[in-house]
Symmetry: C2
Subunit: 195 residues, 2 copies
């Protein structure tokens, strides 16, 4: 019992250590030896849970995606107006990056650009996450217009593309230009576009 | 004379080879040995021109920036309406990525996320490039409104932030989601926003 509990906890520690290293230093420059040294979990124990850096990467991508999706679906099922839901969604997508100094501003962008062709499975998961994000925004726009809570004249695909791409671009550019006004100006632009 | 000419040409070959490797495979996973092997320029000759991978990176960033800035300033000085200039600008920023399969969709984003803390000089140049891009868009918006070629009601900072971030996000997401409609929808969204 104690053994199992400590083994689960070791697994979490390894995942957390690898996640921090991959996201703040980079996947390519992080070695399994570094994960061993920093997590203080034995190599045998680490390899028992994760056969390779690629397996760790996949577990991290899964964890990130489920964390975002949980927060997004909680927002979608709440009893709020569509504009309020959209604002909440924008904040979920934009604010998480304030806590960790991701190499590329956004955790998915950081992992994607660090893995190149080495992990097609992780890339497929990241693609699915963004495809879904686009669909969520399109659905909210349609619902909002149907309920007359949003301006009637918004072209759905174009507006959703504008919203999803600008949030992603803002995550990267806030980091690259060290300009926190970008995200604020964006939230304002959305507000005036959607009212 | 012949010596000098061949030396210039070798320098260009090395720069081109390194650029392709850094942008399509990644800066961190490319070694100087690989650049030697692929460029077929001798190691001594390469190190004569570039002391390190970081020096090559800086030269590549400089070359990329001057290539973009040349095209942008040529557009800005042309005798066209502001909406036409803006559309041309969007295409310059979005279309170059169709030719090369950059790891992260955009050459600057690719280099930035691949260098992490190793090259603060390259990062400062990339920051300056995007800061300037934002200023160019803001200036065009102001000019367009002054000349009444654009809708009077656009908030300058918010609209410029929306445009610059969404172009950057579209470059990454077109690559990550393999969805060419994103960029097309974005161009349409800009057109209806600016008319």
């Amino acid at each position: 019992m104690t053994n199992k509990r400590s083994s689960i906890s070791n697994k979490d520690i390894v995942l957390q250590t690898a996640s921090t290293l991959f996201l703040t230093k980079g996947f390519q420059v992080t070695s399994m030896d570094e994960i061993v040294a920093l997590s203080k979990v034995s190599k045998t124990n680490i390899y028992y849970h994760y056969k390779s850096k690629e397996e760790l990467l996949l577990a991290i991508v899964d964890q990130l995606i489920s964390r975002y999706e949980e927060r997004i679906s909680r927002t979608l099922t709440q009893d709020m107006s569509i504009p309020a839901k959209m604002e909440r969604l924008f904040r979920i997508l934009m604010e998480d990056n304030e806590q960790i100094d991701y190499v590329g501003g956004c955790p998915f962008l950081t992992l994607y650009t660090q893995t190149s062709h080495s992990s097609s499975e992780a890339r497929a998961k990241i693609k699915a996450f963004f495809d879904k994000q686009l669909q969520v925004v399109e659905k909210l726009l349609e619902e909002g217009m149907e309920k007359k809570e949003l301006s009637r004249n918004l072209p759905v695909h174009e507006t959703a593309a504008l919203i999803v791409t600008s949030i992603e671009g803002a995550l990267f550019l806030t980091k690259a230009t060290n300009n926190p006004m970008l995200a604020q100006n964006l939230i304002q632009a959305f507000a005036s576009m959607l009212k």
